[in-house]
C-alpha cells in the first residue's frame, strides 16, 4: 500500500538515508530496527515529509506522494507519532487530542474515535483538563498515540513507543498497537528493542548507517542468531548472556 523506492535524504551535508526501499502492505505491521542513528526515525520523517526527499519516490495507493507538504500526507491519513512523545506541553490533554483531528470534518466519527481512545487509555479521560506537561512519561506516550489515532490513520508510523516506559506499560501499549492493527490500520513501527518489536511484527527491516542491511519476515529475523548478534549489537549480545 505504501512503498518507498530508493529514497535518499540529508540533514544538511550529512546523509541520513541511502537508497532505502520499504514496503508496507495493507493491514500489516512492519518494523524498522537498528542502532541509534541508523536512520530509523529519519525514515519516518521522510514519509511524513518532515525531512525532504533528495532522491527516490514514495508511492501510496498508486499515487506518487514524494513531493507533498506534511499536511497533505496527513490528509491521506498517514499519521506519524513522533519519538519522545512530543505532546504539546501547554495544551491540555483534551486539546492535544482535538489537535490530532485538525484536518478532519466528520464530527460524529471524531466523537466515536475519542471514546475508542478512552477505552484504550482510560487514564486520559481522567486527566482531560490537565496540561500535557503534568502527565507522567507513560501517560504522555498514551496521549501521543491517542493523538495520532485522532487522525483516523490508515497508516500509523510509530517511533519508539516503548522508550523509557516500565515493562508493564510497554506490554499494555504493544497490545493496543496490535488491537489497532486488527481494526485495519497498517503500522510501521520503529523500535530499539528488537525482540519486542519482532514479536508483534509481520516483517522487519534492519537499518545500519542509513542503509538497509537486512530484511525478512519477522520469524526469520527472530530466529537468526548470527544476524541478530551482528546487527542488533549489544542488545542481543547481552540477551545471549542469559
Amino acid at each position: 500500500m505504501l512503498e518507498l523506492k530508493q529514497i535518499s535524504a540529508f540533514y544538511g551535508n550529512i546523509q541520513a538515508l541511502d537508497r532505502i526501499s520499504i514496503q508496507i502492505p495493507e493491514g500489516s505491521i512492519v518494523t524498522l530496527l537498528g542502532a541509534n542513528g541508523a536512520g530509523k526515525s529519519s525514515t519516518l520523517k521522510v514519509i511524513s515529509q518532515l525531512l525532504p526527499i533528495k532522491s527516490g519516490t514514495m508511492v501510496y495507493k498508486n499515487e506518487d506522494i514524494s513531493n507533498l507538504e506534511p499536511n497533505e500526507i496527513v490528509k491521506r491519513r498517514i499519521i506519524h507519532c513522533p519519538e519522545n512523545r512530543q505532546v504539546f506541553p501547554k495544551l491540555t490533554v483534551e486539546e492535544n487530542l482535538i489537535i490530532g483531528s485538525y484536518l478532519r470534518r466528520d464530527k460524529d466519527q471524531i466523537k466515536k474515535d475519542l471514546s475508542d481512545i478512552f477505552s484504550y487509555f482510560p487514564i486520559l479521560k481522567e486527566r482531560l483538563k490537565q496540561y500535557a506537561s503534568t502527565l507522567s512519561g507513560g501517560e504522555q506516550q498514551m496521549l501521543a498515540i491517542g493523538r495520532a489515532l485522532m487522525g483516523n490513520p490508515k497508516v500509523l508510523l510509530l517511533d519508539e513507543p516503548s522508550l523509557g516506559l516500565a515493562p508493564i506499560i510497554v506490554n499494555q501499549i504493544f497490545e493496543i498497537i496490535q488491537e489497532i492493527n486488527r481494526k485495519g490500520t497498517s503500522i510501521l513501527l520503529v523500535e530499539q528493542n528488537a525482540n519486542l518489536a519482532l514479536r508483534i511484527a509481520d516483517y522487519g527491516y534492519i537499518l545500519e548507517n542509513g542503509r538497509i542491511g537486512l530484511e525478512g519476515r519477522a520469524e526469520f529475523l527472530r530466529n537468526n542468531d548470527e544476524i541478530s548478534k551482528y546487527y542488533l549489537g549489544g542488545k542481543s549480545h547481552a540477551a545471549n548472556l542469559y
Binding site: I14, A35, N36, G37, S136, G137, L163, G164, L165, A166, P167, V170, N171, N193, N195, L196, R199, E208, N209, R222, Y230, G233, G234, K235, S236, H237, A238, A239, N240, L241, Y242
Partner: protein
C-alpha cells in the same frame, strides 16, 4: 572510597527522578549505571557535576562535601564529564574545544592575555602541547583545526571525552559514551576507556545502554529503575539477578529463554 552518594533524592515538580539512592565508587574502578530510559541515570550525573541540587541526601568526593561546590568548581576538584548528546562548542575547532577543557588550570590574567605577554605565550604553548598529546591518544591530530560541527558524530563523541580528560581528572563521568556508534567505533572506545583507567588512573562512572560494552569492561554495575537502585554488583551478579532480568531485560529474557 572516591565518590559516595548517601540517600540522594531528586525531584522535579512532584516527579521523583531519583529516590533515596546510595552509591559508592572506589578509586580505579569502572562503574556502570544501567537501566531503562527515564530511570534517573543522567539525573545522577547531573547531581554529581552540580547542575542539579538534590532535595535531600549527601554527595561527597574524596571525603569532601561536593554539594557546597558551585558547578564551575567541580572540574577543579577533579571531576569531569562527557555529555549524552555531545555538548561540544560546535563552531570552535577541535583544538579549541580541548583547550577549554584546560580552562581552570590556565592562570594568566586578562591583561597578560590581551597583551600576549611572554608568560601567557608560554602557558598557551604548554596547553597546546597537552592538547596535542590528547589528540595523539585519540588519533585525531589531523582534525585539530577543523570546526567540530563539520565532523562525524563518532568523532565528536571522542572529542567530548577528550575535552573531559584533558584536565586529568580523578573521576570521569561518561554519559552514554558509545551511543550512536557502530561496532568498530564501540570497540575502539571500549579500549580507550580501559586505557584511561589503566594508564591515567582515572576512575570512571558511566551510563550506557550498550550491554556489550557494559558487560565487557565494567568492574561494578548498578541497575536503576524508576529512580531506585534495584541491584548492584559485579557483572555476573547483576546478570543473574532476577529483579534485573524482570525490570530491565524482561521482554528479551522471555524470548531468549524459549
Amino acid at each position: 572510597m572516591l565518590l559516595e552518594l548517601k540517600k540522594v533524592t531528586v525531584s522535579f515538580g512532584g516527579l521523583t527522578a531519583v529516590n533515596n539512592l546510595d552509591l559508592q565508587v572506589d578509586e580505579g574502578m569502572i562503574f556502570a549505571i544501567i537501566g531503562p530510559n527515564g530511570a534517573g541515570k543522567t539525573t545522577i550525573l547531573n547531581c554529581i557535576s552540580r547542575f542539579y541540587t538534590p532535595c535531600s541526601g549527601q554527595i561527597s568526593f574524596k571525603g569532601e562535601n561536593l554539594l557546597t561546590k558551585k558547578t564551575h568548581k567541580v572540574l577543579a576538584s577533579g571531576i569531569s564529564r562527557s555529555f549524552q548528546n555531545v555538548e561540544l562548542f560546535s563552531k570552535m575547532t577541535v583544538l579549541d574545544n580541548l583547550l577549554v577543557g584546560l580552562h581552570p588550570s590556565l592562570k594568566s590574567s586578562l591583561l597578560s592575555n590581551a597583551f600576549k605577554t611572554k608568560k601567557n605565550k608560554q602557558e598557551e604553548e604548554a596547553a597546546k602541547e597537552i592538547a596535542f598529546e590528547i589528540l595523539e591518544l585519540f588519533d585525531l591530530k589531523h582534525h585539530a583545526n577543523e570546526e567540530v560541527r563539520n565532523l562525524p558524530f563518532g568523532i565528536q563523541k571522542m572529542i567530548d571525552i577528550g575535552r573531559a580528560i584533558i584536565s586529568k581528572p580523578k573521576l570521569l563521568l561518561l554519559d552514554e559514551p558509545v551511543a550512536g556508534m557502530n561496532i568498530e567505533e564501540t570497540k575502539k572506545n571500549a579500549e580507550l576507556i580501559t586505557r584511561l583507567r589503566d594508564e591515567f588512573g582515572i576512575t570512571i562512572l558511566m551510563i550506557e545502554h550498550d550491554m556489550s560494552l557494559v558487560m565487557n569492561i565494567s568492574d561494578r554495575i548498578a541497575v536503576m529503575d524508576f529512580g531506585k537502585k534495584i541491584a548492584e554488583g559485579t557483572v555476573t551478579e547483576v546478570q543473574n539477578n532476577p529483579k534485573v532480568i524482570e525490570a530491565y531485560l524482561g521482554e528479551v529474557q522471555e524470548d531468549v529463554g524459549t
